[in-house]
């Protein structure tokens, strides 16, 4: 069974600084996808960034980027120039390739952004 582990329950970053959230996963599949989702307080979960396992290049979306280390099964999220609006729960998630596959989530990291 696939597992996703986030070892940092809480992280804090100052506004305009950079923070990295960690995630490791375990799978025996070769075709899979990795995601970071953001869940603001009392609001719906939204996709931040995604990475296809077959791509060597790390995904980037504006201030968000990932460090995908396939051999180490590591998938960290870097947030640059942190903003107050980045404060939320961040979930790392895994999905096996295929149309009917489910999303498996980690336990989440709560990110606080301070002035």
């Amino acid at each position: 069974a696939q597992t996703v582990t986030q070892s940092q329950p809480e992280m804090s970053v100052q506004e305009a600084e950079t923070v990295t959230l960690s995630c490791t996963y375990d799978t025996s599949e070769s075709d899979y996808y990795l995601f970071w989702y953001k869940q603001p307080p009392s609001r719906q979960m939204i996709l931040v960034i995604r990475q296809e396992a077959y791509k060597q290049q790390n995904a980037t979306e504006n201030r968000f980027s990932v460090n995908f280390q396939k051999a180490a099964k590591s998938f960290s999220l870097k947030i640059s120039d942190s903003q107050l609006g980045d404060a939320a729960m961040y979930f790392c998630a895994y999905r096996k390739g295929g149309t009917a596959s489910k999303l498996t989530f980690g336990t989440g990291t709560r990110l606080q952004v301070t002035l």
């Binding site: 719906q44 998630a93 489910k102 999303l103 989530f105």
Partner: protein, 116 residues
Amino acid sequence: EAGVAQSPRYKIIEKRQSVAFWCNPISGHATLYWYQQILGQGPKLLIQFQNNGVVDDSQLPKDRFSAERLKGVDSTLKIQPAKLEDSAVYLCASTPSGTWGAGELFFGEGSRLTVL
């Protein structure tokens, strides 16, 4: 485009009572998911529908939980009888038909259940 709609947003019940949650996915989305998110944990899949058929319900406690998706559109998740450990946020999500592994799940705001 309207997002995933869920109701009620909040529900408080006594243990052994029943409760039902409703979800209306984004129009045209064939795949619908119900996740349970207990405080301090990541969401856990309860059931996945493809149109009105069940794809995965392996983690649904079938002695007390049931779900249906009539006509392949909106869905209802029911708990009867509720237990204290059912206190959680129930998240509904949907994806378009034919979504491959990289496809994004679109989530509703969730229904928060408190069982006393």
